[in-house]
């Protein structure tokens, strides 16, 4: 009998609100390991296929690419659920496994319909992790998040319809961006993968989620999108440049951003940039690099978000301008955070070193000099904001006098799991390489690679030190920075208001004219306008207007 790990997670999530105390905790901790066991006992190949309405669905397909992503998602599910154990909030504790199941199910989907179902589930379930904050601000952020997710889902659906109509078939394999359907699907993925301009929802709303919610959000949606890219669009050359822009522009924002959870959201786009560029390069090293780095990123980015979540829980703030000196009160969290920072910065013996280097190697083998130089710049940049800024401004810098308790035990255990995974990948990368979709002859630990990476990072930290001590480093200031979200949070609502008041004024100004025109035409039998409007066209327009209205009022 085959068990779909995603369905197992969903089924296992449902009793959580009914369980109490220790029983609930044990149940939550068992869920992800059970799903992992189900995943790894499945033989490679297609299971769970059936026909409905003449469509051949393959709800469960296991191959190396699907398995490594599903494994990473289940590891993240386990870590997030341990991190959530201290909560007395059944909503979040139930939503996390359901949300995780959407990424697992998507990774194991063999056809596009199944993929679409899980793609939608990912958006619809995860919004509750923002709403669970239960504030007006979070409610609005959740709405903005939902609009982005639903828009992505609609584009995906439209793309699938076009793709199938053009004879592409329902099977989820290589899609490519050469057809209209493929382009729509790529655009849908681009929203969830935070392509430039389309990224605003991520940095806007992730930091508005609950402490636990942000940790779960950081693992699934974006890496699910990377998986769809790796499966459907490997070797799509344009993606290389998309990835380079994603790797480079967020690091500038990250340097001046004050909310440390938002700094991590920017750094997430930066890391996604490496993966997108790798998918664009394609081939053995490209796809392997994207998959390996996604795996490592799920662990170290989760770890960093968890450490900032612990700081937020204990001090009530995650703002750089209000933090500092926490190494005195939260030394264990500090050490775990530094492990995450070293991993994302790709220090030798930490996971990023073993995984990001595959991507750099893939780019170098193609002799893409400018791409390579820009990614190297982004590597130094990520060390700056995620490697130094995050631990420095929260745990060191100026002692702000926070005297708080260490993070709760379950949080430390969850961070410990992610830290152990990050170090394991860094120390024994072959364990991860063995899971990658393609066989490759690659070793991260060559003399020149180790020395060069240490040179890059140490001198980057020297740059930070020099800038700090000369006072040139921009101070942490209470502020927000304009990004693409200004378009839908400021410009569009303003435009809407201006045009509405403008139209009202115009109507008032022309009212006397209307009256006169009415007297003039009253002799004619019927005005032209009413003749050309049939009922169904009218209903359509009303529906469209209402939809637009709803959209704008939700924003």
């Amino acid at each position: 009998m085959t068990i779909n790990p995603a369905l197992l997670l969903i089924a296992g999530a449902l009793p959580i609100p009914l369980l109490r105390g220790r029983l609930r905790a044990v149940w939550m901790m068992l869920l992800a390991p059970a799903a992992l066991a189900a995943l790894w006992t499945l033989p490679e190949g297609v299971h769970g296929s059936f026909e409905i309405l003449g469509l051949q669905l393959e709800t469960l397909r296991v191959d190396a690419l699907a398995r490594i992503f599903a494994t990473a998602f289940l590891a993240a599910a386990l870590i997030s659920m341990v991190y959530a154990l201290h909560l007395r909030d059944a909503l979040q504790q139930t939503v996390i496994p359901i949300y995780a199941s959407s990424a697992v199910g998507g990774a194991l989907a063999g056809d596009l319909i199944t993929l679409f179902v899980f793609w939608e589930l990912a958006g619809l379930s995860s919004v509750f992790l923002i709403w669970a904050q239960r504030t007006e601000r979070a409610y609005r952020a959740g709405m903005r998040y939902l609009v982005a997710q639903v828009a992505s889902g609609l584009l995906m659906l439209g793309g699938i319809v076009l793709h199938v109509n053009a004879g592409g078939g329902l099977e989820f394999g290589f899609i490519g961006a050469s057809s209209a359907g493929g382009l729509l699907i790529l655009l849908a993925v681009g929203i969830k993968c935070a392509f430039p301009i389309l990224h605003a929802w991520l940095t806007d709303t992730y930091p508005e989620a609950t402490i636990v919610g942000t940790v779960a959000l950081s693992a699934f949606t974006t890496k699910f999108a990377v998986y769809v890219l790796a499966r459907g669009f490997p070797g799509t050359g344009e993606l290389v440049w998309v990835g380079v822009v994603m790797a480079c522009f967020p690091i500038f924002y990250a340097v001046i951003e004050n909310d440390l959870r938002r700094v991590l959201a920017y750094s997430m786009i930066n890391q996604l940039g490496f993966m997108v560029a790798a998918v664009g390069v394609g081939g053995t090293l490209g796809v392997n690099g994207a998959a390996a780095h996604a795996f490592a990123d799920i662990l170290f980015k989760g770890l960093l978000f968890m450490s900032m979540g612990a700081v937020l829980l204990r001090t009530g703030t995650a703002k750089g301008s209000e933090l500092g000196g926490l190494y005195k009160s939260m030394p264990q969290t500090m050490v775990l955070c530094v492990i995450g920072a070293a991993s994302i910065s790709a220090f030798p013996l930490f996971s990023g070193f073993a995984t990001k280097s595959i991507i750099m190697e893939a780019v170098a083998e193609e002799h893409r000099t400018i791409v390579w130089l820009l990614l190297l710049f982004a590597s130094a940049g990520v060390f700056h904001h995620a490697g130094i800024k995050i631990p420095f401004f929260s745990f060191f810098a100026h002692d702000r006098g926070h005297r708080v308790a260490e993070a709760p035990l379950n949080m430390r255990v969850a961070m410990g799991l992610a830290a152990a995974g990050s170090i394991l990948i860094g120390v024994a990368p072959n364990l991860l390489y063995g899971l990658l979709p393609y066989e490759m002859d690659y070793s991260a630990y060559t003399t020149s690679h180790v020395i060069n990476q240490v040179q890059l990072l140490l001198l980057a930290s020297m740059a930070f030190t020099v800038l700090m001590r000369t006072g040139l480093y921009p101070p942490e200031l209470p502020s927000v920075n304009l990004d693409a979200d200004v378009i839908y949070r400021r410009l569009l609502p303003r435009l809407w208001r201006t045009s509405v008041t403008g139209l009202t004024r115009l109507r008032d100004a022309t009212a006397p004219l209307h009256a006169r025109a009415g007297r003039l035409t009253s002799s004619s039998t019927r005005p032209l306008q009413t003749a050309s409007w049939t009922t169904d066209v009218m209903v359509l327009w009303v529906a469209l207007l209402l939809a637009l209205f709803l959209l704008i009022s939700l924003l």
């Binding site: 601000r137 500038f252 924002y253 005195k328 000099t369 710049f377 040179q455 200031l477 400021r490 609502p493």
Partner: protein
């Protein structure tokens, strides 16, 4: 919180003298890894990697550029913390 020094829990790192020591240690370490380029044979993909201390120089200059450019970007991008919450402006 407050910007005045907190004295209830003085640690080794609270002494400016010790911070200076750490920084000096870092500078020495940086000089050493910069000179490490003498010690091994490079296996470059690009000609530019043959420049002496390329990675070190690139890491340093790249970081300084990043921070200074980001700092200038604040003039254009930075807004008050409640920018999106001010009454009547965001709905």
């Amino acid at each position: 919180m407050k910007d005045d020094p907190v004295n209830d829990d003085r640690r080794w790192l609270d002494e400016p003298r010790n911070v200076d020591r750490v920084v000096r240690g870092l500078y020495v370490l940086c000089a050493l890894v910069f000179l490490a380029d003498l010690l091994y044979t490079k296996d470059p993909h690009f000609g530019i990697e043959n420049t002496f201390g390329f990675y070190a120089l690139y890491g340093f200059l790249g970081s300084v550029t990043l921070v200074l450019v980001a700092k200038e970007l604040r003039r254009v991008l930075m807004r008050p913390e409640d920018y999106y919450e001010r009454s009547g402006d965001d709905d």
